[in-house]
Amino acid sequence: MQFGIFTVGDIAPDPVGGHTQSEAERISNMVGVATRADEVGLDVFAVGEHHNPPFVPSSPTTLLAHIAALTKNIMLSTSVTLMTTNDPVKIAEDYAMLQHVAKGRLDLMVGRGNTVPVYPWFGKDIRQGVALALENYNLLHRLWREDVVDWEGEFRTPLQGFTSTPRPLDDVPPFVWHGSIRTPEIAEQAAYYGNGYFANHILAPHLHFKPLVDFYRERFEHYGHGTKEQAIVGLGGQSFIAKRSQDAIRTFRPYFENYPVFRGSSLDDYMASTPLTVGSPQEVIDKVMTFRDGFGDYQRQLFTVDSMALPVEMALEQVELLGTEVVPVLRREMDARRAPRVPEAPTHASLVADKYGTSAPRQPRPNPNRGDNLSGASPYQDSDPAVEAHFPLAV
């Protein structure tokens, strides 16, 4: 099972110390949190995508490429890549490049996004959000699997003879999770492709997401990817840990009570009725085990530890506590209880093995520039000769 952290890169005034991080500090701190997560042996670091203050991660692939160079083992991911307001061609290109420089330590979680003005800023209509996410992912899926793509759809200009470059590493696309908390259509798409399904598991009551996770599992089985127990499920969550339970609550309380998203809620009610976990390492362990009771065996558990204006020293300490006191026990407990034949989340290595077995992975080698900056009808030396690229004509 994969355990890790995710961040949305938000900035807010520290209600205790009074300091507000600058964007420069926040970016630097996020990198520090990621490298610490790698050092303590966490499996995943994911960053969200936002396009307005008070968030900084407008360019997840730029940030993650930098973090890839500074880390050794941790898998990089997103929480989430916007599947609605980004051009799927750019997603295909940017994340394939990231996959290369990260040497395969990458997957991504895609979603609609929840900030209203981002749609008009990027020329899209929020009322089409679900259709956009669905159509865009259908295109992304093809761009990463077909050397030459001819495509028409509703939300983007048509593609003729297009090759997304670079081809994915080893010609194996990064694994994709669909992050969704509201709509069965997105869960259906995840199930159709055999992709993963991720529920952010924050800001909502216990098991609020269970009907959609169950729906995804059944449809995963319907589409023949495995049994419903074998579907690939991930959960988010929020935690704050201290050795002593009362210290955790005391320290966390002012951050909770001063953060606008939690206005009107009491910390005690929130802890009792939602997945928010504030307490000792053992309490966090016990609570996460109840997630398994509710959702079945799952493959990825991420925690948000650096939002809500927590100073970076505190966030780093949370990463250490997770990595040294909580996750090793959870790993053992989850492994001990996992039903046989329930798979782990796919990794680059496992996907390469699935595709090639013991043979060497395909390494696409392009045909040369024929004089017009293009490779001609066949982009790679081993491209299928029956598939020819016909380019759009310039008038």
């Binding site: 669905l134 069965p184 259509e185 798409q189 009725s273």
Partner: protein, 235 residues
């Protein structure tokens, strides 16, 4: 007309009172109780059994406000919503504050699923300190329940202090109860709801009795579902 005959339901009919009264005792609750009792009496005369439960909004006031700002109902409000979802008929009673329905009443209705009361028979009632605001029921409560697509009975109940000793109020209570019992007896609400369910907008995992919660409830032939399974968006 196809319908589920009420005597084949094999369970008592469920009347649910929603009262926004805050006094103890509450005239708002009393008006609803009298309407409920009159309805039960009429149903019993026809051999139909029914139960009455009451949702008092005053003890839920802070949870209702929290549900509005957090987007999620707490345990007690969720329980009230689920009881309403199962109701065969609702008696809604509110005090009149500032010439309108009480904010507490409206706040509670604001956190209900939009499809919770589709075609549910509803009896509308209000109390006030003066007869001047008698139109609140027809002018404010009725449009609110029209939005919810409920089946509101024609006769609105309203009681000002001077009405309580008046036999005309008792006669109106019996009249509205007769209307509510009539809708219940024929099962017309259930029939409309079940036959026309897919024509209304719903949210997956919602609280309504017919809400999509499982694969078997979902319509996979919609454009979006076909797009989700690798199809094309058709403009």
């Amino acid at each position: 007309m196809s319908h589920v005959p009420v005597d084949s339901l094999e369970r008592p009919l469920r009347l649910v009172i929603v009262s926004a009264g805050v006094s103890e005792p509450s005239s708002t609750r009393l008006l609803a109780d009298r309407a409920a009792q009159a309805t039960l009496d009429l149903l019993r005369e026809e051999g139909l059994s029914a139960s009455v439960t009451a949702i008092e909004l005053a003890p839920l006031a802070t949870e209702i406000a929290q549900a509005i700002v957090s987007g999620f109902p707490g345990r007690k409000v969720q329980s009230a919503i689920e009881r309403l979802a199962e109701a065969d008929a609702v008696i809604a009673s509110t005090p009149v504050y500032k010439a309108g329905v009480s904010g507490l009443f409206k706040s509670f209705v604001d956190v209900l699923d939009n499809d919770l009361l589709i075609a549910t028979p509803v009896l509308l009632a209000a109390t006030a300190g003066t007869a001047r605001h008698a139109m609140v029921v027809d002018e404010q409560l009725r449009p609110l329940f029209a939005f919810l697509r409920a089946l509101s009975v024609p006769t609105a109940l309203f009681a000002a202090p001077e009405d309580w000793g008046d036999s005309a109020l008792s006669a109106r209570i019996r009249r509205s109860a007769n209307e509510l019992a009539g809708l219940l007896r024929n099962g017309v609400g259930r029939s409309i709801g079940e036959s026309g369910w897919s024509g209304y907008q719903h949210q997956f995992g919602g609280n309504a009795e017919g809400a999509e919660r499982r694969v078997g409830d979902v319509d996979f032939t919609t454009d979006l579902m076909q797009l989700a399974a690798g199809g094309r968006a058709i403009p």
